[in-house]
């Protein structure tokens, strides 16, 4: 089941959260290997605890939310934000990253709605 939900497209969406994970990993690596201040349990334990707890909880939340979002994408039609029960709204391709081929159609510029009102 999990392999089905986390297909290539979903993984691509999740890359955004891999970056901070990567940065944390780099820092952890530096602190482990360069070890500029030596090891002392009272200070080093909280130091690693803070970074690892962030990595783990970010990983868990990304997994859960990815599963919820990608799972719902497969179960039901996906609409653009705020259009789910809008009359006449068209479903979108969830992996098009917001691009809609029709939107580039020519629109001639019209006066501002604000200015019309006043």
């Amino acid at each position: 089941m999990a392999t089905k939900i986390f297909d290539k497209d979903t993984i691509l969406d999740l890359t955004v959260n891999f970056v901070p994970l990567g940065i944390l990993a780099v820092f952890i690596g530096i602190f482990v290997f360069a070890d500029p201040w030596g090891f002392d349990l009272r200070a080093s334990l909280p130091m690693y605890l803070i970074m690892f707890s962030m990595v783990i909880s970010l990983g868990i939340l990304t997994y859960i939310s990815g599963k919820a979002i990608a799972g719902d994408e497969k179960k039901a039609e996906v609409y653009s934000q705020g259009q789910a029960f809008l009359d006449g709204a068209e479903p979108i391709d969830p992996h098009g990253h917001g691009e809609n081929s029709e939107e580039t159609d020519e629109h001639e510029s019209k006066t501002d709605p604000e200015n019309e009102e006043h």
Partner: protein, 598 residues
């Protein structure tokens, strides 16, 4: 306390309680007609709101549990607090136009600074977000109301007493109550805030601090109640078509924010009560060795998530409004959602970057630097998404759009200056200088308030049924944008020069930049006066919106459900043969001809 005062208070409380009880028994007759209106609304037609019975006039506003009314109340409350906090800072900036004290003395300056910070963060920032989320989220996700409407009302009504308690010190002096406004800064650092000579005698404000602690605690209770309500609403009350995959970005940010509130605010509440107990009940949480550092850890464990509690929903508003006027969908919608969640998690691992200069262990400090660097990424991702959304879009520079673009611009400056502060070596140089003040004002004024303005202008027609004056709106934007950048960029430069924060006076060498900052603040002030005038005037006398799509969103296919709800509301009002507002006025006992026609 004197015996006479005791008796007077007792009589007063007795009369109050009897009056409340009498009023409540009368009001409870409402029950007799409670279940008449409306029927069961089926799933498909959820967005067709049925206006259920409400009492008229002022009583309606005091007793309402309707999410839209509560949203409006939050909005009015938040803007009032914004005006109060703004006027406080105008006084401070005028004082800072000269190096020595001229207008306000150091004690008043400290009180103003304390109250300005707390007012803007707790009494303006959090409530103005609640205004948007209360009004809009049930409409956007297709819920009938909040999950717990009465808790929603309680959460709002806790805020006015909380504001009065926070500001109490300013009234206490003139009234002769024997205490002052607190001078602790919003961070309430101990030992200053514990009071060396017992609760009511300390020089930093006396009982004013106790009242402020209680007021802050109340506002925390209110925020927590609201957060629980939003989590329950978003999880359980969504329309069946609203899946996690197409939940809008504003609801996502509110969901994340509510999660943050749920973890952060109870901790603040406990820390405040500990401080209160230290001041009044003889405990020694923060008086023992290490107590001062303990307070800072507890405070900032709340304090840093608080920053994201304020900024995330505002990013949500920008992510929701900006695409409407770029004529296309938000670029990389899911990137924005995931990075919102990432910010939510990481915000709990960065708190000690406020404490780099406290002399904590370098290993510990380094880990907070690492997480602080990591949290910059999700914010940057959002910025790139907004810019890419604008790319090749059909951009319409309406007032809300201008504020959205201003948000992005200011957020970049505020964010980049923040990344530098996250680095320990840089922070140690710039710590406690005006650089920090400039940095976070770029975020709270330049970004958070700007997004709030964008939201207010964008949904103004939806809430009031009228359009604001566009020229004044644009004047408000340009004055705010220019004023913000003059004021806070001058502060960043002052920080490079080494001017310390929090003082009423400064060395003469900083005069010219301080004058520039004061001029910028005055420009901001003029802009906000225009804003208030525009808002009030347009609410009463603005041109009525006749279309359900005042922003012409349908043409680009970026129309959204809350405007569909608005459209139906207008149609219902027309078929009923009159404005619903007129009915309300009539119910309130005022003559019909007095209303409306301008």
């Amino acid at each position: 306390m004197e015996i006479n005062a005791q008796i007077a208070l007792t009589v007063f409380m007795g009369v109050l309680l009897v009056a409340v009880a009498a009023w409540l028994t009368r009001i409870e007759d409402w029950r007799s007609y409670s279940s008449t209106a409306g029927g069961v609304v089926s799933q498909g037609e959820r967005s067709e709101y049925i206006e259920q019975e409400k009492p008229a006039g002022l009583i309606r506003w005091l007793t309402t549990v309707d999410h839209k009314d509560i949203g409006i109340l939050y909005g009015i409350y938040g803007l009032t607090a914004f005006a109060v906090g703004g006027l406080m800072v105008v006084l401070m900036r005028v004082e800072l136009a000269t190096p020595s004290t001229t207008l306000v003395g150091p004690a008043l300056y400290n009180s103003l600074m304390t109250s300005h910070g707390i007012t803007m963060l707790f009494l303006f920032g959090t409530p103005i977000i609640a205004a948007f989320s209360n009004y809009l989220i049930p409409l956007i996700i297709g819920a009938d109301d909040m999950a717990f409407p009465r808790i929603n009302a309680i959460a709002f009504w806790l805020l006015p007493p909380s504001a009065l308690m926070i500001w109490a010190g300013f009234f206490a002096g003139p009234l002769g109550l024997g205490f002052e406004a607190p001078q602790t800064a919003w961070t309430l650092y101990t030992p200053l805030s514990t009071g060396s000579a017992g609760g009511s005698l300390d020089p930093a404000g006396g009982a004013g601090i106790d009242l402020m602690l209680l007021g802050l605690h109340l506002s925390g209770v209110a925020a927590t109640m609201g957060a629980i309500n939003f989590i329950a609403t978003i999880f359980t009350q969504r329309d069946e078509n609203v899946t996690w995959a197409n939940l809008d970005i504003f609801s996502w940010t509110i969901l994340t924010q509510s999660g943050l509130i749920l973890f952060a605010f109870p901790l603040l509440g406990s820390a405040l009560l500990m401080l209160l107990a230290d001041r009044n009940f003889g405990t020694s949480f923060f008086l023992a060795d290490g107590g001062n550092l303990l307070w800072q850890h507890l405070f900032w464990f709340f304090g840093h998530p608080e920053v994201y509690i304020l900024v995330l929903p505002m990013m949500g508003i920008v992510s929701y409004v900006l695409p409407r006027f770029a004529g296309r969908k938000l670029f990389g919608f899911k990137f924005v959602v995931y990075s919102t969640l990432a910010i939510g998690v990481l915000s709990f691992g960065v708190w000690a970057h406020h404490m780099f200069a406290t002399g904590m262990d370098p290993r510990l400090r380094a880990s907070f630097m690492a997480v602080s660097m990591a949290i910059a990424i999700p914010s940057a991702v959002k910025t790139f998404n907004w810019i890419t959304t604008l790319w090749n879009g059909r951009i319409r520079l309406t007032t809300p759009m201008l504020f959205c673009i201003g948000f992005v611009s200011n957020f970049i400056i505020g964010g980049v200056t923040g990344v530098f502060l996250a680095s320990i070596p840089v922070d140690l140089v710039l710590h406690d200088t005006y650089y920090v003040v400039g940095h976070f004002h770029y975020i709270v004024m330049g970004a958070i308030a700007f997004a709030g303005f964008a939201g207010i202008y964008y949904w103004f027609p939806l809430v009031t049924g009228r359009m604001y004056q566009a020229t004044l709106g644009k004047a408000h934007f340009w004055l705010s944008f220019i004023g913000t950048n003059i004021t806070f960029f001058a502060m960043i430069l002052l920080g490079y020069g080494g001017m310390p924060r929090r003082y009423a006076t400064y060395l003469p060498q900083f005069t010219s930049l301080n004058v520039i900052a004061t001029v910028g603040a005055m420009i901001l002030f003029v802009g906000q006066i225009i804003f208030v005038w525009n808002l009030v005037n347009s609410w009463y006398a603005g041109k009525r919106v006749e279309s359900g799509d005042p922003w012409d969103l349908k043409r680009d296919g970026v129309h959204t459900v809350e405007w569909q709800w608005f459209d139906r509301k207008i149609e219902t009002a027309i078929t009923d043969g009159g404005e619903e507002e007129q009915n309300a006025v009539t119910d309130g006992g005022e003559p019909i001809d007095k209303s409306e026609n301008n």
